[in-house]
């Protein structure tokens, strides 16, 4: 039974580590499906984490914190849109720029406002999203096999975790069952056709980046006021890029995105678990292998060895209405 306890504990942390990836990858799904590359996911997540922590600390309310994170993240999205949609600038350059602005500004402002080397003060109580205990936990505790799974993996997460999994079917529905979704996907494949149909390419793409900002707000808030209890310098730590990798790994489809995020979250959880432990016959596996594995897998996928990934055709190309 001890082995099963370990499995349950790894699955529990898999969920916790996947959530920020999931929100962020879904955000990237919206923009990239609309033909706007978004390298700036990392920066949006970081800025949102900082804003959430600040607002939650000042107001003492986690929901207001989340709202603050969403607001700042959408602001970053709008700058990205202004540069890459309105001014037809290079989308990758714009994303890289916003990542730097976020990485720098969060520390500069954090130090100026709180004087703790870029950290925000500790956040507690109502200002945080605390774990929720689902009903019947006590009754389920003694049920073999399913019991621990229910108590430690399914129950005991915070509200944002459940929202993240809810966001997956909603994203699918919006993208594949609504008129907005159809047009959004069309604008990523052939903006000229959308324009000919009399639909504004610019406004559609702006809506896509705003949705992405909205979702990144959740992932940022998750980092600073749900998973941790403060904003810490560079706390996104490359998760935006892993989310981007998950998005590509899932071939720009919502449900596979969820599984890719869970896989990468699992690798992270497994690496933490394996730290300092020896595998029989092999010895200690370096933790760096697990850290690099999401990226290696994505590169192998991109090389076309695990099926073929078809990115949206108009991705990265600014749309020029007329010459």
């Amino acid at each position: 039974m001890e082995f099963y306890d370990i499995v349950v504990s790894i699955l529990g942390s898999t969920i916790r580590l996947s959530i920020p990836l999931l929100f962020t990858a879904l955000a990237g799904l919206f923009t990239e499906r609309a033909g706007v590359f978004d390298i700036g996911l990392e920066g949006k997540m970081l800025a949102a984490a900082f804003a959430s922590a600040c607002v939650a600390y000042v107001t003492g309310n986690a929901w207001l914190g989340l709202l603050g994170g969403i607001g700042v993240s959408i602001l970053f999205s709008l700058i990205h849109g202004f540069a890459s949609i309105t001014n037809r600038g290079n989308q990758i350059v714009s994303g890289v720029a916003l990542n730097f602005v976020a990485a720098g500004l969060t520390v500069v402002l954090g130090q100026a406002w709180f004087g703790q080397g870029g950290r925000t003060p500790q956040i507690s109580g109502e200002a945080r999203f605390s774990p929720i205990t689902l009903p019947f936990v006590d009754a389920m505790r003694d049920v073999p096999f399913i019991g621990p799974l229910y108590v430690h993996v399914i129950s005991g997460n915070n509200i944002l975790t459940y929202l993240a999994f809810l966001a997956v079917p909603i994203t699918w529905w919006v993208l594949f069952r609504t008129r907005f979704g159809l047009r959004l996907r069309a604008v990523g494949e052939n903006p000229g056709a959308v324009d000919t149909a009399g639909i504004s390419v610019t406004w559609l793409r702006y809506r896509a980046v705003i949705v992405a900002g909205f979702l990144c707000g959740f992932s940022g808030a998750y980092l600073s006021i749900a998973q941790s209890a403060a904003f810490i310098k560079d706390m996104s730590a490359g998760k935006g890029y892993i989310a981007l990798a998950a998005l590509i790994f899932a071939k720009w489809k919502p449900v596979p995105v969820m599984f890719a995020c869970l896989l990468f979250g699992f690798l992270d959880a497994f690496a933490n678990f394996m730290q300092g432990k020896a595998v029989p016959g092999i010895g200690e596996v370096p933790v760096q292998i697990f850290q690099a594995l999401p990226y290696i897998l994505t590169c192998i996928l991109l090389a076309g060895f695990i099926g073929v990934a078809h990115p949206p055709k108009a991705g990265g190309v600014p749309y020029t209405k007329e010459r």
Binding site: F37, G89, S94, V96, F100, V108, W113, L244, C299, G304
Partner: protein, 367 residues
């Protein structure tokens, strides 16, 4: 009416507009400083004094600038071929391994000037090798080089930490770094160059790699504008379909451009690894690869522009470090903000002022 097709004279396109973009970036940086309750002009004064006021300050400024020249050239060479190499950071990291292996192998036996050419080749080879797989994937499999180079930055970082912690570490020591190179594996300081100008270098690690960087800048200029390969790369960068139609081999040109780009990034490692700390350390690149993007964009991918932009960023890095001592409210990360704003305005928003410029220019011409 669309203003995109109206031609503007070169002094506006290459002089006035970049300058204007830069000024806006600095203006907003000033606003940030003002927002956190400090005086932007006083901060600017401290920044300039801290980077250009004394001999050792200038030495540090030039030391940083050296790294940025290499990475800026790296980004620019790929950019001319229409490739966006975000992987200079990882290529420089691996380049450090090449330089360190040469230094560790030779420093006992030969003086520095014998080690140096081998170290240059070693650093360039390792950097180029790290760019090869993304290049090959782009050329043969059509995977986007931006994504793969980002992935390779992370893979490279993991690999280097593994090597430093498990393989290259000095047995019995805690710090994940190689042993200190003997003088045969170090690049000497350029105190004599500073002495020409009556300046004292002091503790600043300004070293011979600066001269290597200048040579490379010249060679890149020759490559891009004076060779067949450079012509092919530029054609590919402007129009891949035209290049293929003209018989330029797409795959080969992409791979060669990325190898050169990676090699230049790798050489950046000479400066911190052999010129300053005399050992290979974790995260010695410290973001210089990403600064290269800003430098290349600001310098409009021209070697001369890159050298000037690298100097500016050297001033920002050294001055910013000094500034954070004088005004503790302004942390070193302020440089990162400025860097981001420069990339935003000089890169992504480079044409923001073009319509206004066109109107102004046409009105002036009519008058």
């Amino acid at each position: 009416m669309s203003t995109a097709s109206v031609p503007l004279p070169n002094w506006i396109t290459y002089g006035l507009m970049p300058l204007l973009n830069l000024l806006v970036a600095f203006f907003i940086s000033g606003l940030v400083v003002w927002w956190i309750g400090e005086d932007p002009l006083a901060a600017l004064k401290l920044l300039i004094e801290g980077s250009l006021g004394r001999g050792d300050a200038i030495g540090f400024t030039l030391f940083y600038a050296t790294s940025f020249i290499f990475t800026g050239l790296s980004v620019a060479v790929a950019f001319h071929a229409g490739l966006f190499n975000i992987g200079s950071e990882g290529q420089a990291y691996l380049g450090g391994l090449g330089a360190a292996l040469v230094a560790l192998a030779l420093d006992r036996y030969v003086p520095w000037y014998v080690t140096m050419p081998f170290a240059v080749i070693g650093a360039a080879l390792f950097g180029a090798a790290w760019a090869f797989i993304p290049a090959w994937l782009q050329a043969k499999r059509g995977s986007h080089v931006v994504i793969t180079t980002i992935m390779f930055n992370f893979i490279g970082a993991a690999l280097m930490v593994y090597l430093l912690v498990n393989v290259l570490i000095v047995p019995g020591k805690m710090a994940p770094e190689t042993r200190t190179f003997l003088p045969g594996g170090q690049l000497p300081k350029l105190d004599w160059l500073m002495a020409w100008f009556g300046l004292k270098l002091g503790p600043a690690p300004f070293n011979v790699s600066f001269l290597i960087a200048l040579v490379m800048a010249f060679l890149v200029w020759v490559l891009i504008w004076r060779t067949k390969l450079g012509y092919e790369m530029r054609t590919l960068g402007i129009s891949p379909s035209a290049a293929i139609y003209a018989g330029i081999p797409y795959g080969r040109t992409v791979i060669i451009a990325m190898l050169i780009s990676g090699g230049l990034a790798g050489m950046m490692a000479l400066n911190p690894v052999m010129g300053a700390s005399a050992r290979l350390q974790v995260e010695f690149v410290g973001g210089a690869g990403f600064v290269g993007i800003a430098v290349s964009l600001m310098g409009r991918s021209h070697p001369l522009g890159i050298v000037l932009a690298a100097l500016l960023f050297g001033i920002l890095y050294q001055g910013g470090a000094d500034l954070s001592f004088e005004m503790p409210n302004i942390t070193r990360e302020m440089i990162v903000v400025i860097q981001g704003l420069v990339i935003l305005f000089a890169g992504a928003l480079e044409y923001m002022f073009r319509p206004a410029m066109v109107h102004l220019y046409q009105r002036l011409k009519r008058a």
